[in-house]
C-alpha cells in the first residue's frame, strides 16, 4: 500500500465485548489466541477476526469489498499467555513476524499463525512449538486459504 495509506491508517482499538468475528459472527473476546482487526476504506469500525489466520485469509483472498487500509494483529511476544492475547498489544500485520505451521490452535480451533513484533520471540516460539518464521508477504495464500480438515481431531 502507498504512503498515503500509511499516513491515513486509523489506530488500533481495544477488543470489545461486541466485537464479532467477520466470518463466524461470534463474540471473539471469549476465545483464546491472537486476533486481528482490519480497517477498510470508508468504514468507521474495524472488522474483527477471531483468528489471525482468518484475517490473513481475508487479505490473501481475491475478494475485496473495499480497499484495506491497515490490519493489526496481537503481538504474542507481549501477550500474557496464549489464552490472554492482550488488549492493546496491536502491531501492524505487515510488520509482524509469523510463526507458520506450529502446533498452535486459534481461538476457534483451527491451526493458527502466531504473530510477533520481535523476530527473536518468533524464533523462540517456533523452536518450542514448531513451524517457521515468515513475513506477511512470504506467507502463501494456500497456507491460510487451504481447507482445514483434521481427520483425527474429533474425539
Amino acid at each position: 500500500s502507498s504512503e498515503a495509506a500509511v499516513q491515513n491508517a486509523p489506530d488500533p482499538i481495544a477488543l470489545t465485548e461486541e466485537a464479532a468475528g467477520h466470518y463466524c459472527q461470534m463474540v471473539i473476546l471469549e476465545h483464546d489466541g491472537p486476533k486481528a482487526q482490519m480497517y477498510l476504506a470508508g468504514m468507521q469500525n474495524p472488522l474483527w477476526f477471531s483468528q489471525v489466520r482468518d484475517g490473513l485469509a481475508y487479505i490473501k483472498s481475491p475478494e475485496q469489498s473495499a480497499e484495506i487500509l491497515v490490519m493489526y494483529v496481537n503481538d504474542m511476544g507481549k501477550a500474557k499467555s496464549w489464552s490472554e492475547p492482550g488488549d492493546m498489544n496491536w502491531i501492524r500485520a505487515d510488520e509482524a513476524y509469523y510463526v507458520v505451521g506450529s502446533d498452535a490452535k486459534g481461538g476457534m480451533g483451527a491451526p493458527e499463525l502466531a504473530p510477533f513484533s520481535s523476530k527473536e520471540k518468533a524464533l523462540e516460539f517456533a523452536a518450542l512449538r514448531g513451524g517457521e518464521v515468515k513475513l506477511l508477504d512470504e506467507i502463501s495464500a494456500q497456507a491460510v486459504l487451504a481447507p482445514v480438515d483434521e481427520e483425527g481431531s474429533d474425539q
Partner: protein, 273 residues
C-alpha cells in the same frame, strides 16, 4: 434569430422527408415500450417502484441509443452539404457559421427531444395504465428527459465536429461509429482494464473518479441510476467523491454539449467549401 430558426425549419423539413424523424421516434418508442413492459413483469422482489425499474432500464438503453441517434442525425450535417455542393452557397449567406450550426442543432434537438419525449411518454402511459397515475414519479422522469437531451446534444456536437473534419459522408459515418464505440463501450472498458491492472493503486483513487465522470455517457448513467451501490461508492473514493458525485456528474453532463459544440464550431470554421 429568424435566420437560425429558418435553418432549423429547413433542416427539420429535410429530416422529416428523409425519414430521420420517423426512424428516431420509432426506435426510441419501440425500445422504451419493450423495456417498460418487460421490466413490469412481476418479479416483485427488489421493492423498487415500477417507474424506477423502467427508468433504470431506459437509462441503460439510452446510453446506447441517444448517442447513436445523435451521431446519425449529425454526421451528415456538414459533410453531406459539402458533398452535395450546397455548402458553398450556404456559407456566403449573412449568417455566421455558429448560427448555421445552431440552426441545425436546434432542428436535431427537436427531433431528438421529440423521440425521447414520445418514448418516455409511452413508458409513463404504460405505467399509469398498469399501476395508476400515482405510480408516476415526475422527478426522476424529468431528470431522465433532460439529461438525455444533454447527452444527445453532446453527441450532436461531436457529430458535427466529425462531419466538419472529415467532409465526406462515407468516411464521416465510419468515424462516427468509431466514436460511438469508443465513448459508449471502449472508454469504460479501458477504465475497467486500468482498474484491474492498477489493483487499488493510485489510479483507482485519484484518476479513476474523474476519468469516469469525464465521459458524458457515464455521467448520464450515474445521474439516472438510483442504484444505491453506485452512490455508496462515493464513500470509498475519499476526496474525489465530492467532485464526482451528483454535482460533478451534472457539471460534466452540462459542460459537454457546450464543449462539443465549441469543437464543432472550431472544426466547421476550418471548412473550405
Amino acid at each position: 434569430m429568424t435566420s437560425i430558426l429558418s435553418i432549423a425549419r429547413l433542416e427539420l423539413l429535410i429530416a422529416r422527408r428523409n425519414l430521420w424523424v420517423a426512424t428516431a421516434i420509432l426506435l426510441m418508442a419501440l425500445f422504451n415500450v419493450v423495456l417498460t413492459i418487460a421490466g413490469n413483469a412481476p418479479t416483485g422482489d427488489l421493492g423498487a417502484s415500477p417507474m424506477i425499474i423502467a427508468i433504470t432500464s431506459i437509462t441503460t438503453l439510452s446510453v446506447y441509443l441517444v448517442p447513436l441517434i445523435g451521431l446519425l442525425l449529425s454526421f451528415d450535417a456538414i459533410a453531406g452539404e459539402a458533398e452535395r455542393g450546397t455548402l458553398t452557397l450556404g456559407l456566403s449567406y449573412p449568417l455566421s457559421r455558429a448560427e448555421i450550426l445552431l440552426g441545425k442543432f436546434i432542428a436535431h434537438m427537436v427531433v431528438l427531444g421529440a423521440a425521447i419525449a414520445i418514448g418516455l411518454g409511452l413508458t409513463t402511459a404504460i405505467i399509469a395504465s398498469r399501476h395508476g397515475v400515482g405510480a408516476i414519479e415526475w422527478g426522476p422522469l424529468s431528470a431522465l428527459y433532460f439529461t438525455s437531451l444533454a447527452l444527445g446534444a453532446t453527441f450532436l456536437g461531436l457529430g458535427y465536429t466529425i462531419s466538419s473534419l472529415v467532409k465526406q459522408t462515407g468516411a464521416a459515418s465510419g468515424v462516427a461509429i468509431g466514436l460511438w464505440l469508443i465513448a459508449v463501450v471502449l472508454y469504460d472498458l479501458g477504465l475497467l482494464g486500468a482498474l484491474v491492472a492498477d489493483a487499488g493503486g493510485t489510479f483507482s483513487k485519484t484518476i479513476f473518479p474523474y476519468a469516469l465522470v469525464a465521459n458524458p455517457a457515464d455521467a448520464f448513467r450515474l445521474l439516472n441510476m438510483p442504484d444505491q451501490s453506485v452512490n455508496m461508492l462515493a464513500s470509498g473514493l475519499g476526496a474525489a467523491s465530492s467532485v464526482t458525485g451528483f454535482y460533478g456528474q451534472l457539471t460534466s453532463l452540462l459542460l459537454w454539449p457546450v464543449v462539443a459544440l465549441l469543437f464543432a464550431l472550431l472544426a466547421f470554421r476550418k471548412v473550405e467549401p
